[in-house]
């Protein structure tokens, strides 16, 4: 099994394939792409497109086709989630929530040129294809948000994706300024979808919706989800168990 990890875009990027015909150059091509994405879309880099848009240094006529593609995904996501997902927040432009999924999807396209069995992960969001080195579907753990060394579910994925959105912070209190009370509810939501862009954006939106999020996913065809609550209980959508690997 070939496995490589790099820290890019502030998160671990992991590439795996059981296919030994995949070369170092092939792997490097994918990492190079992630570095390009960071340089181009990071809100933390002054020269990035995102920073320049926020400074008002470039306007819409100058947007690249690639940026327009990302914005189109953002726009449809905003519509599908009743505004819960928005790349504009308090007058600030931050498309990172779309860029992450989009970047994984593009990385998948690069790897697919060389093999049909692979695993691509960026910061806990994963798209797989084919099988692992044992010829089985890829076995993916869902991390326990209360103990990061532990998994609380194991699922098998073949050619689909999973993304988890949440706080990654133990015992966090989330304050709801609209209702003026503390929310003691969802800590993380993991969403399985056919593509990583869909899994990623719907996990983000479902998490932002709080307890309603799991029902939002329940009513979407082709999506399943697992939501972990603050009291160490969890709720799964009705079809989630089809992916579960029983111990």
């Amino acid at each position: 099994m070939i496995k490589q990890t790099r820290l890019i875009m502030g998160m671990p990027i992991v590439l795996m394939t059981p296919d030994v015909s995949v070369t170092n150059e092939n792997i490097e091509e994918v990492f190079t792409f992630f570095k390009y994405v960071d340089k181009t879309y990071s809100p933390f880099i002054d020269s990035s497109i995102v920073s320049r848009i926020n400074r008002g240094a470039i306007g819409e006529p100058e947007y690249s086709d690639e940026l327009r593609e990302i914005l189109a995904i953002a726009k449809s996501t905003k519509r599908q989630t009743n505004g819960y997902f928005d790349v504009w927040h308090k007058g600030n432009f931050d498309p990172s929530g779309i860029v992450k999924g989009w970047a994984i999807a593009e990385a998948v396209k690069i790897l697919a040129k060389y093999t049909n069995a692979f695993y691509v992960e960026a910061g806990g969001d994963i798209q797989v294809s084919g099988v692992n080195d044992e010829g089985s579907p890829w076995q993916i753990g869902i991390r326990n948000p209360f103990d990061r060394h532990q998994n609380i579910k194991v699922i098998a994925l073949k050619s689909n994706a999973i993304a988890t959105s949440g706080t990654a912070i133990r015992g966090q209190h989330i304050y709801d300024p609209v209702q003026g009370k503390e929310l003691n509810e969802v800590i993380s939501v993991s969403v399985i979808a056919p593509s990583i862009i869909d899994a990623d954006r719907m996990a983000t939106a479902a998490f932002a919706m709080g307890v309603k999020g799991i029902y939002f996913i329940e009513q979407l065809d082709g999506y399943e989800a697992y939501a972990v609550m603050h009291d160490k209980t969890a709720i799964a959508t009705t079809g989630w168990h089809r992916y579960e690997v029983k111990a």
Partner: protein, 152 residues
């Protein structure tokens, strides 16, 4: 002022050490690895490294300190740190994507009531792990800022 710098420095150094650790791991050439060997080490959340020095070491001034609002992937994260008896005792997230002024219409009655279950540790070997990491950088930034104020 010195104290403020020291705290900020500690947070930054911890984060850099984490980054270097990651880089080290990443620089290893393509290799055969047994399943799951690297999974636990590659996913250290930067947020936890910011909490450790605060709760164990420094003597902060008691009170509540609000960190700057930091960019997360899908919005802003802003935290308030509460210091009691010189120690970090609570972190409240003030600003989160949940503050969006929107509502989602879901017809609950048309959906099955989903069952709630206790979470349970699974021992099975895995190829990879899905978990939330996306807001940790923004969280670290805002908390670091709040603690710098507490130390000032």
């Amino acid at each position: 002022m010195l104290k403020k710098l020291a705290v900020a420095g500690f947070v930054i150094v911890t984060f850099i050490m984490y980054s270097l650790h990651q880089r080290n791991e990443g620089s290893q050439a393509a290799q055969k690895v047994p399943k799951n060997q690297t999974n636990t080490s590659q996913t250290t959340a930067p947020s936890s490294s910011a909490i450790t020095p605060a709760s164990s070491a420094a003597n902060y001034k008691d009170g509540s300190y609000t960190g700057k609002s930091s960019d997360a992937f899908y919005g802003f994260v802003q935290v308030r740190a509460t210091i009691t008896s010189g120690k970090l005792t609570d972190i409240t997230v003030l600003d989160y994507p949940q503050d969006r002024d929107t509502s989602i219409q879901i017809n609950d009655s048309a959906l099955p009531q989903l069952k709630q279950e206790a979470i349970q540790a699974q021992a099975a070997q895995v190829d990879g792990i899905s978990g939330a990491t996306d807001t940790s950088r923004a969280f670290t930034e805002s908390l670091g800022d709040a603690l710098a104020q507490a130390a000032a």
